[in-house]
């Protein structure tokens, strides 16, 4: 069996291996744990964006759901006294998905620049609401305590445990999205990007498909937002600011849109580039990131994941 086809059929195994490698690296390089956890959480939001990009839709509003997830965790902790990680993450995911479903009813009617601008408008509305609302912390936001985990600890989780949990959540998400992409509904994304008329004349509803992809994208971003709030320990309205959504778009383009692994590759690469650039050229780190993006777009238009594709192709030719 060719390597490429074998890999296509073994996504569960690959996701498991990737998670284990990530955990091993994280434990080995403990000083990078925080950076990687934040990168993985952002990768989840970018993974949602990938689902939309595959449908030919550019969203500048993924930050809305990232922020909604983080605030759901913060508010549930502050006002409801929930401290356990599992219900908090569920709440983050479900609340973001519900908001996405509500807005998705309207947004699924729009395409191209109209879709992009509307998503931007909605995230900025949330930003405006949060920044002026003292109940929600106003412009300062509020702190999020470290959660507990019913099986592992009575008190707050350590950074290492949080890292392992994040890696497992990401591994499961990759596996689930990869499975979704192989379903008829998941396969419809690239087809809709090419030709919605033919999709409709095959008996499928493009609007319905966009609605579900948008809702799923929101849920993933909410999950990412929840994980981020635990790691950073503080949430503020900037999570909904348009530059946050721009960063997710940056990650998605950097990693590629071919599969569910790509955005995490992009997210980790961006955090590494940013951290190293801060360290070595603190006054010009933005230039380093801009040049990196330029290089990727020119030489790897399919994103960093296309390096893996090129390797797979050459190994398939070899064997």
């Amino acid at each position: 069996m060719k390597v490429s086809s074998m890999l296509r059929q073994q996504h569960a195994l690959i996701a498991l291996l990737a998670t284990l490698v990530l955990i091993a690296l994280g434990i080995g390089l403990s000083s990078w744990q925080f950076v990687v956890v934040v990168a993985l959480a952002k990768g989840l939001a970018a993974l949602g964006l990938v689902l939309l990009l595959r449908c030919g839709l550019v969203s500048f509003g993924q930050g809305l759901y990232y922020c909604a997830g983080a605030y759901a965790v913060g508010m549930a902790m502050s006002y409801l006294g929930i401290r356990d990680l599992v219900p908090l993450l569920l709440l983050a995911t479900v609340s973001a998905a519900l908001i996405a479903a509500l807005l998705g009813v309207l947004l699924s009617r729009y395409r191209d620049i109209f879709f992009a601008i509307l998503t931007l408008a909605f995230t900025m509305i949330l930003y405006g609401l949060l920044i002026r609302n003292p109940v929600l912390g106003g412009s300062d936001g509020f702190n999020v305590l470290s959660p507990g985990f019913f099986l592992l600890a009575d008190g707050a989780l350590s950074r290492r445990t949080m890292f392992i949990i994040t890696a497992v959540v990401v591994g499961v998400s990759i596996w689930a999205v990869q499975r979704y992409l192989a379903t008829p509904m998941g396969r419809l994304g690239p087809a809709m990007k090419d030709n919605e008329i033919r999709v409709e004349y095959l008996g499928a509803s493009a609007r319905r498909n966009i609605f579900w992809n948008y809702t799923l994208a929101g849920a993933l971003a909410g999950l990412g937002g929840g994980l981020t709030s635990f790691s950073i320990g503080h949430i503020d309205p900037d999570l909904a600011f348009w530059t946050t959504s721009g960063e997710f778009l940056f990650i998605a383009i950097l990693g590629g849109t071919r599969n569910a692994y790509a955005p995490f590759l992009g997210a980790i690469a961006l955090e590494l580039i940013r951290s190293l650039a801060f360290q070595y050229v603190p006054n010009a780190w933005q230039i380093v990131i801009g040049v990196s993006m330029l290089v990727i777009i020119i030489f790897l238009p399919g994103g960093l994941i296309s390096i893996a594709r090129l390797w797979l192709r050459s190994s398939a030719r070899g064997g």
Binding site: L188, K193, D194, I197, R198, V199
Partner: protein
């Protein structure tokens, strides 16, 4: 008798674009298992008629029935699911996907196993193009792939909008032979819009001649092509002797 069953019935269809009448009270019955050729000059209303039948356009007035059920103004996906499929004058494919991925996508939508893709391509003699991107295929191949996608759902009616336009004249009959073989095998009721009268004469058993948004004549190919009005407005009469020759005799 199956031939007598009316599968599609259009009643007083009217469609207007500004001051232009694209359809003027079109009333016609399409019988099961028939192959109808739609002829007419550009702007005569052929494609508008097909677009109304398939939900692309909503008629301003009138009704469309499919197998006794009214389908007027229903969205394309519903009409497709009911059993009316179509191809387009400009093939509507998934250009960034390969031919086999195009068919797999269609199979996924209709809920059939994806491993049927190669078999479908083979039926249309497109196996050699399976791995090629649809966007770079020759026009004739794109037309066939467009029809293959339409046929994936096993429709009862297939509407073909100019299946041989943009195709080299030497390939026209080869393509039509392939299409009609599949149509007959699948016992599909077919309608095709066509400008080439020889194609219409050879492959249709009923002709609808459109002019200025109305049906000018309907009947067998022989009847319609000898109709005075059709000769006058659509086909044109054979030229008389060239002017120079007439002058020489004078």
């Amino acid at each position: 008798m199956s031939e007598s069953i009316v599968l599609i019935s259009a009643r007083n269809l009217r469609k207007q674009f500004g001051a232009v009448f694209a359809a003027r009270d079109i009333t016609v019955d399409i019988h099961a298992h028939s192959v109808s050729g739609l002829i007419g000059t550009n702007g005569a209303g052929k494609t508008t008629f097909v677009n109304m039948l398939t939900g692309y356009l909503k008629p301003d007035q009138g009704q469309i029935f499919f197998d006794g059920q009214e389908i007027t103004g229903r969205p394309p996906r519903e009409i497709t699911r009911m059993g009316i499929a179509r191809s387009f004058q400009i093939p509507q494919l998934f250009d960034s996907l390969t031919a086999v991925e195009n068919v797999e996508t269609a199979l996924g939508i209709v809920g059939k196993p994806l491993d049927q893709a190669q078999e479908i391509l083979a039926r249309f003699e497109l196996t050699q193009f399976a791995g090629s991107l649809a966007g770079i295929l020759p026009e004739g191949v794109r037309k066939l792939l467009d029809i293959a996608l339409a046929m994936v759902a096993d429709p009862r009616v297939l509407l073909l909008d100019e299946p041989t336009s943009g195709v080299d004249s030497s390939e026209k009959f080869e393509i039509m032979d392939r299409i009609m073989k599949i149509v007959r095998e699948a016992e599909v009721t077919a309608m095709f819009v066509e400008h080439d009268m020889e194609v219409v004469r050879r492959y249709s058993d009923r002709v609808l001649a459109f002019y200025d948004g109305a049906i000018l004549a309907a009947g067998s190919p022989e009847e319609v092509m000898q109709d005075e009005k059709v000769l006058e407005y659509i086909i044109g009469r054979p030229l008389r002797a060239p002017l120079a020759q007439e002058g020489a005799h004078a």
